[in-house]
């Protein structure tokens, strides 16, 4: 069996042992979509492409779609539902139970100077506790440095829904090379001034001085997502949108 083509797995499939990276000394890292059945069986739980990174000695199943399930370290955009004595209750996806955001988990927050977030406010936060038996917990400050690092309330702008796959690609360190998303760079290069925040939970927040800019950016992102556009097509789309408006 040749390894050049993508390996597509379905739940319950057997994984060819030759595909599992085996660097001695380093522990094998399991990513999403895989289940380890002791002693040494690996079984996929979702349908997707089996992907390995031999350098990091890791293996996971790449897929798109479904509902966001919180994982520690993810950056997410949530909506405040209500606030109680010590927590804000925040929704990450519709119809799921709320995540907890401690009122003191903000930069410079003390008992006296805690932020006042109204119901309906948006926050950019990091998941710091995710556990199947407990509601997820969020933070808007790095516990190590005490700095916000861009996390916190998001004011103004517009929130767009995208697929989980695109959110992941937008958050990649090299989103152009690895994720093949060029829209944001292209829009920026076309002279539009805007800021964005991407939540791993399938949300993209776009803000700009100009309403039109927000709309263009939003539509470019959503169209890239819905129509599975390649880098070239994305560039074309951006040119088209900019032409349409100007």
């Amino acid at each position: 069996m040749a390894t050049q083509g993508p390996v597509i797995v379905l739940p319950g499939d057997q994984i060819d042992p030759s595909l599992i990276p085996s660097r001695p000394k380093k522990a094998l890292k399991l990513g999403p979509g895989l289940r380890h059945i002791p002693p040494n069986e690996l079984v996929p739980t979702v349908a997707g492409q089996l992907t390995t990174d031999h350098k990091k000695n890791s293996i996971w199943v790449e897929y798109n779609g479904g509902r966001y399930i919180p994982a520690v370290g993810d950056l997410v955009i949530g909506t405040v539902q209500r606030s109680a004595a010590e927590y804000f209750y925040v929704t990450l996806t519709d119809y799921t139970s709320n995540a907890l955001l401690p009122q003191l988990a903000f930069e410079m927050a003390t008992k006296k100077t805690r932020p006042n977030l109204n119901p309906g406010a948006l926050v950019y936060a990091r998941v710091c506790l995710a556990n199947r038996h407990m509601d997820p917990e969020l933070e808007c400050v790095s516990p190590a440095t005490g700095k916000a690092d861009g996390l916190g309330p998001l004011n103004g702008g517009m929130l767009y829904d995208v697929s989980l796959g695109l959110a992941r690609r937008l958050l990649m360190r090299k989103s152009l090379e690895d994720g093949k998303v060029a829209v944001l760079e292209e829009l920026g290069a076309a002279g539009l001034a805007f800021e964005t925040a991407v939540g791993r939970n399938g949300k993209v927040w776009v803000n700009s001085e100009s309403v039109k800019t927000v709309l263009i950016v939003g539509r470019a992102i959503q169209e890239t997502d819905e129509k599975n556009l390649s880098v070239d097509q994305q560039k074309k789309l951006v040119r088209k949108l900019i032409k349409e408006v100007s």
Binding site: Y95, G120, M158, V211, K212, V214, L215, R219
Partner: protein, 293 residues
């Protein structure tokens, strides 16, 4: 069931701000409908309508039953709209929400009360036998404007429907199976369609057609008006919400009429296309039947 999710403050503010500049989030003009598509099933009376991300499935069925005692000369005509969690997890089976009741009332008024279907023609033997025509409406995907889309789907399905042919000889009523005789269309009098206007702004002076779910959640009030292409209003409903200038409503009515004419033409075309497609199928079937012989 989980509560319906509400848009964030940022979205609320931005959508309204954009509308004030005459812009919609999805780039449409204020009076522009989303992309419409209509597919008929292989069976008669099945319509699958998509309006942007809203998708409605309507199925018409008929059976012979006894008429209501107080209306011996009329057949029975019902439209059932039960929203399942497929449309949104906040809908619960057997517990009608306000959305569902309002949708069912508007369809009732638009299609049934306006006598679009001649119920007297459904009578077979007065007081004893009549047709019961039933439309089941299923919302497969809910992204706003259920009312206009549902009305279009219901009318399309009813116009597409064929009921089994019947004949009466003396006292005996014969109902032919589809294999015996080609079914016949319903006695359809006119095609009423709904157009819903959504209003924004504190003075409700921004008027938008075919609102999507987000816009529906943020509008200050709405006005649904039903027309047939002959220019008759079949129903009009602005049920509360922020007040609107009377003149604006009159203007909406005029715009709605134009839109209904446009939609009716579109629907007629779709029905013609489908009957052509079927005719081809019919011819093919005949040929193959001949081959077998």
């Amino acid at each position: 069931m989980p509560r319906e999710a509400e848009p964030s403050l940022n979205e609320r503010a931005f959508v309204v701000q954009a509308l004030q500049e005459g812009l919609r989030i999805d780039g449409r003009a204020l009076d522009q409908f989303r992309e419409l598509d209509l597919k008929f099933g292989d069976q008669y009376g099945v319509a699958d309508l998509t309006l942007g991300k809203t998708r409605i499935f309507a199925k018409v069925s008929a059976e012979v039953t006894t008429p209501y005692t107080d209306r011996p000369f009329d057949g029975i005509f019902t439209i059932t709209t039960e929203l399942s969690p497929m449309a949104s997890p906040s809908f619960e089976v057997n517990r009608p929400t306000e959305t569902e009741i309002m949708l069912s009332r508007l369809l009732e008024k638009t299609v049934r009360r306006s006598n679009a279907l001649d119920t007297e023609s459904l009578c077979l033997v007065s007081g004893q036998k009549c047709w019961s025509i039933r439309v089941d409406l299923h919302v497969l995907s809910h992204d706003g404007n259920l009312i206009d889309a549902s009305c279009l789907a219901v009318v399309a399905a009813l116009r597409h429907f064929r009921k089994p042919d019947t004949s009466i000889e003396g006292e005996t009523l014969t109902i032919y199976t589809p294999a015996e005789r080609e079914p016949v269309p319903l006695s359809w009098l006119h095609s009423p369609l709904c157009v819903t206007f959504s209003f924004f702004g504190e003075e409700a002076d921004i008027v938008v057609m075919d609102a999507n779910l987000l816009e529906e959640q943020l509008r200050v009030t709405s006005f649904t008006i039903s027309f047939n292409k002959h220019g008759e209003i079949c129903q009009g409903a602005k049920l509360g919400g922020t007040t609107v200038e009377a003149m604006t409503l009159i203007k909406c009515a005029n715009d709605a009429l134009d839109k209904v004419k446009e939609l009716t033409t579109w629907l007629d075309l779709k029905l013609v296309e489908d009957s052509k497609r079927r005719d081809k199928g019919g011819l093919m079937a005949e040929l193959s039947a001949e081959n077998e012989r």
